[in-house]
């Protein structure tokens, strides 16, 4: 998650204090990603070092801190951020996918039960997210967007688990064999020359 760009976006309209940025960030995202004030100031310091924000001349708060304002370079950086699609990071350590793969490889593990337990747990979080949505009919649109993103992610995981279950049923009884392209090079030369 880019705190850096989030803060730049909040500074687009007018200069703001660090505590103000923290509050507005959480308000927009429904406090799904809480920021501590330390993170805010660390990020602001880095942004200032890179010339993307600067301390505004006036006014200075009681604690001696000043407001931050976005620079032209900061505006350019922000524009690029909004114009560039977010790449879908490959998740090299998706714990759930690894767990299922290893459950299949390990003798004596009931993979269907692993799938079912996970599905029930993910469904429960989906129910909780839905309840948040239900209780918030007139909610901030920005917060609802964030909530929907989490709902879609949970839904996708459940559909994937349904799919896994159907695949497991179809493959039941077949010997476990990795797909050709991922197979370890065969040690036996006769195998390798096949």
């Amino acid at each position: 998650m880019s705190i850096k760009h989030g803060l730049l976006a909040l500074l687009r309209e007018e200069p703001k204090y660090g505590y103000q940025l923290r509050g507005e960030f959480e308000e927009a995202t429904g406090a799904i990603w809480p920021l501590n004030i330390g993170q805010v100031y660390t990020t602001l310091t880095r942004l200032e070092r890179d010339g993307l924000v600067r301390a505004a001349a006036e006014p200075v708060a009681d604690d001696g801190r000043s407001r931050y304002e976005i620079t032209d370079a900061g505006r350019a950086e922000l524009a690029v951020w909004f114009e560039t699609p977010v790449t879908r990071e490959s998740r090299p350590r998706d714990e759930l996918a690894i767990k299922l793969a290893l459950a299949l490889a390990a003798p004596g593990v009931d993979v269907s039960a692993v799938v079912q337990r996970q599905r029930a747990a993910t469904m429960q979080s989906l129910q909780e997210l839905t309840r948040l949505k239900r209780g918030d009919r007139e909610g901030e649109i920005s917060w609802l967007l964030v909530l929907e993103s989490m709902i879609f992610a949970a839904e996708a995981e459940i559909r994937w688990l349904d799919h896994c279950e159907a695949m497991l049923l179809r493959h039941r009884g077949r010997p476990a064999k990795p797909p050709e392209q991922y197979a370890e090079p065969a040690a036996d030369p006769a195998e390798a020359n096949r």
Binding site: Q116, R119, A121, Q124, T130, R134, G135
Partner: protein
């Protein structure tokens, strides 16, 4: 509070001997007033059979199905029909509205079949249409309505009068996601505000998540459950 729907050891077998197909095996489920329960499972897992048995449209091979305390497996045919007309509402994926009748006439139909006079039935129908937010469409025919509006008419028909049990089989299957969600919100509100017990069959996790409990059927057997949820305030704490 005692359950409105109480299913005990329900088994439904089609055919006999070697050819016997076990649609449901020893399924038990109780749904309390105000509770919405979702049933999920792959095609052929027995979801719809469970719903048709619960609604008295199909007879169990063994087990008990109590609706408001009446065992529909032992009631006579006409008593089951009366129970269906008075206490049980159905919502289907394809709405099942009668094209030649207006919205209000469709909603009033089960009451009229049960002997309510036309004028009184019309009043109940208008009230039900108002509850689902489309009272202004009372005199419209189904073909002049959108899918979402038709499903609202179907829900109004399912809740008209004094129904206690609402059975919905893929009610959002023919609707886009926004309209589907509005339908779920409506079903949820019916349960919350009017103490109706609801059973929702769906293959859609997003819609099942509106329920208090989500049950999984596989090959006619209940294999798991998600929920019930913890209290609302503890949940807010966790999400932060």
């Amino acid at each position: 509070m005692s359950a409105i729907l109480d299913i005990r050891g329900l088994t439904r077998t089609h055919g006999a001997g070697e050819q016997a197909v076990h649609a449901l095996r020893d399924v038990s489920l109780a749904v309390a007033p105000g509770e919405l329960v979702a049933v999920m499972g792959p095609s052929g897992s027995g979801k719809s059979t469970l719903l048709t048995c619960a609604g008295g449209l199909d007879q169990p091979t063994s087990g008990e199905i109590l609706v408001d305390g009446n065992d529909i497996a032992t009631l006579g045919r006409s008593a089951v029909a009366a129970l269906r007309r008075r206490r049980i509402g159905y919502v289907f994926q394809d709405f099942n509205l009668i094209p030649a009748l207006t919205a209000a006439e469709n909603v009033a139909l089960p009451l009229e079949l049960d002997g309510t006079r036309t004028r009184a039935a019309r009043k109940y129908a208008e009230a039900a249409l108002q509850e689902v937010g489309i009272d202004e469409l009372a005199d419209r025919f189904p073909e002049d309505m959108s899918g979402g509006q038709r499903q609202r008419v179907a829900i109004a028909r399912a809740i008209v009068g004094e129904r206690r049990l609402l059975l919905a089989d893929e009610p959002t299957g023919a609707l886009d996601s926004e309209t589907g969600e509005a339908v779920l919100r409506l079903l949820r509100d019916r349960c919350d505000q009017h103490g109706i017990a609801g059973v929702l069959v769906t293959h859609d996790a997003r819609h099942a998540a509106w329920a208090d409990r989500v049950l999984y059927l596989r090959d006619g057997v209940l294999v798991g459950q998600a929920g019930p949820l913890p209290a609302a305030d503890s949940l807010l704490q966790e999400s932060r």
